[in-house]
Amino acid sequence: MSTATTTTELVETKKSGGLTGAAANYIDERTSISTAVKELGRKIFPDHWSFLLGEVALYSFVIILLSGSFLTFFFHASMTPVEYDGSYLPLKGVEMSAAMASSLDISFDIRGGLLMRQVHHWAALLFVAAIGLHMLRIYFTGAFRKPRELNWVIGFILFILAMAEGFTGYSLPDDLLSGNGLRIIDGMVKGIPVVGTWISFLLFGGEFPGEQIVGRLYSLHILLLPAIIVALIAMHLLFVVVHKHTQYPGAGRTNQNVVGYPVLPVYAAKAGGFFFIVFGIVMLMASLFTINPIWNYGPYDPSPVSAGTQPDWYIGFADGALRLIPPGLEFVWLDRTWSFNILIPLVALGLFILVVLIYPFIEAWVTGDKREHHILDRPRNAPTRTAIGAAGVTFYAALWATASSDIIATHFKVTMEGVIHTMQFLVIVGPFIAFFVTKRICLALQKKDREIVLHGYESGRIVRLPGGEYIEVHQPVDEYERWKLVSYNDYKPLMIRPNAKGKITVGQKARAGLSRWFFEDRIEPVSSTELERTHGDHH
C-alpha cells in the first residue's frame, strides 16, 4: 500500500505522466495493481531458445481458443441425418449427419470458415508438438528436479489432456476418417474383458456408432476439457513464477540467482512479439496447406475404410502399438473373449505413460537428493538419465512411425510385412540400443570436457622440438568456459544402510541397486586440486 501512496504523490507533484500516467494512477488507486506489476515486471527470465518452447504451446492454445470459438458459431453437434445441399459438388444430395453437413458448410459456404478450420487444426497439431518438445527439453536438462516435480506432473497431465482435446476434435466432423478413429476406440474399449462392452454401450449410447457420440464429444471438447486445461495452465504458470526460471550453467549463474532480462520491458516485448510470430506461422500454414480435407473423406459410414487412414500425429503411437501386436493372441476362456492383442498394447502404453508421469519421483528416490536445483544439467552430465530418455524417445518414435507403416511401404517401395517386422524389432530392441549408445556418448563427451579443462583445447599449432619431435600446442580454456565444463552435480551410488531397527529392507536393496545402475559409470568433474596440479602443464 505504501508504494501506491508514494506513486500517487510523485504523480501529483511532477504531473509529467500525461494521459498514460493519469490512467495508470487511476487504475492503481482502485486496484493496487502496482504491487503485482512491480513483482511481475521485475521477474527475470534467462535467455535461451529452448525456454520459448512452452510459450509456443501456450500461444497455440490461445490460437485454438480464438479459432475454436469462431467454429462453434456454425457447427451443429448433432447426428441427425440431413441431405447435404451445399456448394461442394461431389457430395451434393448425399445423406450425412448435421455435424458433417455443418462442417462442410463451414468449409465452403461460410466466409473465412475453411481458413478458421485449418487454423484450428494446424494450431492443434502445433500445440501438442510444442508440448512434446517442451517436455523433452525439461527432461533432458533435469528441470523436473526439486522443487519442480509437481509442475512436471501438471505439464504431463496437460499433454494427455491436449491429446484428448485433439482426439475429441478429430471425431467431431463425423467424416469417414473420424468415424474410423472412433471405431478403433470402440474396438479397444470392447477389448477390455467383462466391462468393455458395457462401457462401449454407455459411451456411444447404444451400439456403435449410434446417434449420441458427436454431441457428447462436443461437450467434452468445448466445455470440460478446455476448462481443465485453462485451470492447469494457470497453475503451471503460477508455479513457474513461484519457482523462478531455471538457467543453464555458466559463469555468474548460481542456484540462488537468475541471470537474464526482466519481464518489463524486455520479455513482455519479446514474448508479445513472439505470439504474433507463432500466429503468423499458423496462419501461413492454414492459408497455404490443406489439413483434414473432410470433403474427400465424405460422411461416416461404417463399411468403407480408406487406405492411409491414420489418426493425427499425437495418437499415432497408440495406433502403431495396435499395428505391431502379432496376431493370434485372442482366445475364449471362461465363456469370454480375451483379446490380448488389444490388452497388451493398452497395458504397455499405460505403463509407459505412468513411468513418464512419475519419473521425477523415481529419480529423486534413486539419487536421495533433497536439495533444490535451479541450474540445469547439460544432458551429457547426467548420462543415465539422458540414456533413459533416449530409450523412451526411441520406443515412442518406433510406435509413432509404425502408425504410418503403409505409407512407409508405398513410398520407400518396401513390403508392409518388412516394415512391421522391422518396427517390432525396433520397439523392443531399439530402446536398449539407444540406451547403451547414448550413455557411452555422454560419458565420452564428459571425458572430452575433462580433457579440455585439464589440458586445454587443441590449438592447431604444430611445433617441432629441437629433438625433431612434433607436438601440437594446447591452449587452456578461459575461465567462463571452464565454469560451464566443471560445475555439475556428481552422484555416487548410495550405500545400503540399515534402518532404525537395524534391518536392511527390500526397498533399501532395490534403491541401492537402482542407484548403482544409475551412477556406477561416471566421470567426476575436475576438482580445483586436479586443476592446480596440471597447471602449467599445457603442452
Binding site: 531458445w49 468449409s107 510444442a130 496447406f289 490443406t290 480435407p293 473423406y297 487406405a307 513390403t415 518388412g418
Partner: protein
C-alpha cells in the same frame, strides 16, 4: 450381330426339322434375315472396309504379339510358366496393360510397374484386336461412358465404398501385402480407369457390370476427373495422404520454422 446369329440358328434347325416349332423358327429366321439384310445393306460398304482393315490389324497384332509378348504369354497367347494365358482377357485388358506401359513387363517384382508406353496407339490397338480375336472378353469402353459428365456425388460414394480401401479416398494410392500396392489415380485417363475396373489388372478385383453398372463406372470416372481438375480448396494437398503427411509437415516445417525463430529471438544482439 444379326448376321452372326442366323447361321447359328440354322445349325439348330437341321436337328429338329420335323419339330412343331419348325414353322415358328422358320418365320423367325425369315424375319431376322430380312431385318439383318436391311441393316447390312445400309452399312455394307463401311463394314466391309472395317472388316478388311480389322483383319489386317489382327494380323499385325499377331506379329507384334509374337515378337514382344510370346516369350512369356506363349505363341498362341496360351500362357507359359512366366506369364498367364491371354485367351479371353479381351481388348480392354490389353489396352490397359500396354497403354499404361505396364506391359511388356520390365522386370519381375511384386507387380508390373507403370512406365513409359512402349507401343504406338496403332500398335496397341493391333495387339488389342489380336487378343480380342482369340476369344470374347471385355471390349474397349464406349466413348459415352468416358465423357466425365456423370453424377460426381454418386461416383464419390461408390468410390469410397468400393475403391478407397486400397486407392485412398482421394485416389492417392495405398499399400497392399508383400510389396504390392494400389497406385495413385491422379492423371489416369478415363479409358484406363474404366478398363481397370472391368478387367481387374494386377491385384485389383474385377468390377463387372453386375457389380457396378457402366453408368456407375461413368460416375466414378466423373468423380476422379473432378479431383484431377479441381485442386484442393484448402491449398496444397500435401499428397492427399492424410494425417501422416500433415504431421510430418507440421513437425518439420511448422515447428521447425518456429524453433528457428526462437533461436533468432534469443540470439544476443551484441
Amino acid at each position: 450381330m444379326t448376321t452372326i446369329s442366323t447361321p447359328k440358328q440354322s445349325g439348330g434347325r437341321k436337328a429338329g426339322r420335323r419339330s412343331p416349332l419348325a414353322s415358328v423358327a422358320l418365320i423367325a429366321i425369315g424375319l431376322l434375315f430380312t431385318g439383318g439384310a436391311y441393316a447390312a445393306f445400309s452399312t455394307s460398304t463401311a463394314s466391309a472396309e472395317t472388316t478388311a482393315a480389322s483383319q489386317q490389324t489382327v494380323g499385325e497384332g499377331q506379329k507384334l504379339f509374337a515378337a514382344n509378348c510370346a516369350t512369356c504369354h506363349g505363341l498362341a497367347a496360351e500362357g507359359t510358366g512366366s506369364g498367364p494365358s491371354l485367351i479371353g482377357v479381351g481388348a480392354a485388358s490389353v489396352d490397359f496393360q500396354v497403354g499404361t506401359g505396364r506391359m511388356p513387363m520390365q522386370l519381375n517384382g511384386p507387380q508390373a510397374e507403370k512406365k513409359a508406353v512402349q507401343f504406338t496407339e496403332e500398335q496397341t490397338a493391333a495387339l488389342a484386336a489380336y487378343v480380342a480375336s482369340l476369344a470374347p472378353g471385355p471390349a474397349l469402353p464406349d466413348a459415352s461412358l468416358l465423357d466425365g459428365e456423370g453424377d460426381a456425388a454418386n461416383g464419390a460414394e461408390l468410390f469410397r465404398i468400393n475403391c478407397a480401401m486400397c486407392h485412398n479416398v482421394a485416389g492417392a494410392g495405398g499399400a497392399l501385402t508383400q510389396g504390392k500396392y494400389a497406385p495413385a489415380l491422379a492423371g489416369v485417363t478415363e479409358k484406363h480407369i474404366y478398363e481397370a475396373m472391368v478387367t481387374g489388372p494386377q491385384n485389383m478385383p474385377v468390377f463387372n457390370d453386375m457389380n457396378i453398372s457402366p453408368e456407375s463406372k461413368r460416375d466414378i470416372i466423373t468423380y476422379l476427373k473432378y479431383l484431377d481438375t479441381n485442386p484442393s480448396p484448402g491449398g496444397f494437398a500435401l499428397g492427399a495422404l492424410g494425417p501422416v503427411s500433415e504431421g510430418l509437415f507440421l513437425w518439420i516445417f511448422g515447428l521447425g520454422s518456429i524453433v528457428a525463430l526462437t533461436v533468432w529471438i534469443t540470439a544476443k544482439s551484441n
